[in-house]
């Protein structure tokens, strides 16, 4: 819970990780390159006071996670979204056992989502059934640029991907978090392209597709498909920290998202440990669309409440104190949300 100026905010951090990128876990140079890339993101976008040392960043452990999120970070509930990266790390990047043990010890505060890779075929499908039972899965995190043998990525509308989505539906796994990365097979394509999300969102209307970092670096393509598909949502991983270094760019991202998909389908996350939630939440509650950006309506306190927690709480059936609940906006399920602003009429 975060409170400021007499307003309370229920906080769900919808994308967190517990990783181990220490040298002894790195399988090859790509393990180092990957965490170095994350660390540069962290150093580049964090306020100076929030920058960790490289050693801390390689592995922070469950105790620190609990402290950063729940003791000082205002978070009421957080959702693990692990990336396996088995080709880069001996024991994988996301630490399944440690995250699951934490979740079992703190069931009111943590939800564990797992991951699958459709290139494991039938074996993976059987594993998914076991995982769903063991973890009580409500959601999964899919990293489409995961390397696997001589393939370095897949599309959500590949035939085997469909089998996994069908299995998920059968197992009651409703929330599919999609994280696009730089590689895909074949390499001829734009790996960040979100057109495959469009296809599966149409074919699986009962599943929710949360596109992490709201499609960045393809924000425009994401907005265009999400405005047409009522079950496509925006995750704010990676987008949030722009609030500090590039507040005007952040305003444009939020403004575009609220315009194209509305206030009910945007989920806050710190992407912990890429960044820590405390400063992001404080900054977001203080944030306002700059006055000169008249193409966007000012963001309201209730919109902030939904983004910071209520939207993800609804998706995951997380109990929200009665006095903090809000109704959905009275908006159509598809199409731009502020049509009066389409022609800059608010100017």
């Amino acid at each position: 819970m975060y409170s400021k100026d007499g307003e309370d905010y229920f906080i769900v951090d919808a994308h967190i990780a517990l990783w181990d990128a220490r040298p002894e876990n790195q399988r090859n140079v790509h393990g180092k390159q990957f965490i170095d890339c994350f660390y540069d993101y962290h150093r580049n976008l964090s306020p100076e006071s929030e920058v960790w040392t490289y050693e801390e960043y390689l592995y922070y452990g469950g105790e620190r996670l609990m402290h950063d999120l729940f003791e000082v970070g205002y978070v009421d509930h957080a959702i693990f979204q692990p990336a396996a990266l088995r080709e880069f790390y001996h024991r994988g990047f996301g630490q399944t056992e440690e995250a699951w043990a934490l979740t079992q010890a703190n069931p009111d505060r943590l939800t564990y989502n797992h991951c699958w890779d459709p290139r494991f075929g039938e074996t993976g499908l059987a594993q998914l059934e076991e995982d769903a039972k063991r973890f009580g899965l409500k959601g999964v995190k899919l990293y489409t640029a995961e390397w696997h043998g001589d393939s370095r990525g897949y599309k959500l509308d590949d035939p085997w991907s469909y089998k996994y989505l069908e299995k998920a539906q059968e197992l009651g796994i409703r929330n599919i978090h999609v994280h696009k990365g730089p590689t895909i097979r074949p390499l001829d394509r734009d790996a960040f392209d979100v057109a495959d999300v469009d296809t599966v969102a149409t074919d699986f209307p009962d599943l929710n597709f949360v596109v992490e970092h709201c499609g960045l670096p393809r924000l425009e393509d994401f907005c265009w498909i999400a405005t047409q598909e009522p079950n496509v949502h925006a995750g704010l991983a990676v987008a949030m920290p722009f609030i500090h270094t590039r507040p005007r760019y952040f305003a444009q991202i939020i403004g575009e998202l609220i315009y194209w998909i509305g206030e009910d389908r945007i989920q806050f996350s710190s992407d912990y440990g890429l960044w820590t939630p405390r400063w992001l939440i404080e900054s977001f509650v203080d944030f306002q669309i700059p006055e000169d950006m008249t193409e966007y309506a000012p963001i309201t306190t209730d919109q902030k409440r939904k983004i910071l927690g209520l939207n993800a709480a609804k998706m995951y059936d997380i109990e929200v104190p009665r006095n903090l609940r809000l109704p959905d906006a009275g908006e159509p399920a598809t199409g731009p949300r502020q049509p009066e602003r389409a022609d800059l009429a608010g100017v």
Binding site: P217, I253, E295
Partner: protein, 265 residues
Amino acid sequence: MTLTVTRAVPGLDEQAVRRALDVVMDPELDEPITDLGFVRSVDVHENGVQVHLRLPTSFCSPNFAYLMASDAKDALTALPGVERVVVELDDHHDSDIINRGLAADAGYKGTFGPEAASDLEDLRMTFRRKAHTAAMERVLTDLLRARPGLEESRLGAVTLADLPTGPATSALLRRRAALGLPEAPSSVVMVDEHGVGYAPEEVPLRLRRARSTRISIDGNAHFCRALLRTRYPGSEEDQTYRAEGAEPGDPTFIPLTSLTVKENA
């Protein structure tokens, strides 16, 4: 060791090489690699030139990385009198693969083998279209600012002749040429990649969508530039200055307050 700098190719020095590389664009960011600071070093020697490239992360998309590196090699090979060109991409997860491919002039398929299906022309075209869309949005929004009273729905009738001369218009003309769109003064500005315009009632939403493309490209560009500076301290000296999203006067964030664009305003 004796250090000798031989300039067997008349007039070829580091500056000439960098100017030759100005034509190499980052397709996603729609900016020359020389402005972005991606050219790490230039070494001119007898009969040839060696260039090292660097990118903001090890995990920049390998297809774009390959495009930039192979375009760089092509641009340098085309220089008169240059016989030997070495282009190497540093610190990327596919550096070995790409550098081997470039050295052997193996082409895209030869470089990536079974991971490559046909070629990268569709990819290149996708980003040419986006670059055109963004350039189009910039001139039209500039026009709205410059002409209070111009109704947004009438932007669909604006022609190239209506645009002021300046860098934004020149940029649009270059993007049109890349798509093979007409450059005659009477040509309509607001068109799709096939040169087809929009009905007045469609214009506001199309402009809005074009704006999201422009925001996306600008946002990626300033993040990539900043990541390069984090990864390679000092690289800012090789970057052409651009405002990056923090500054109120940032020209990539066009303030629209001064516009009068309401219907019947």
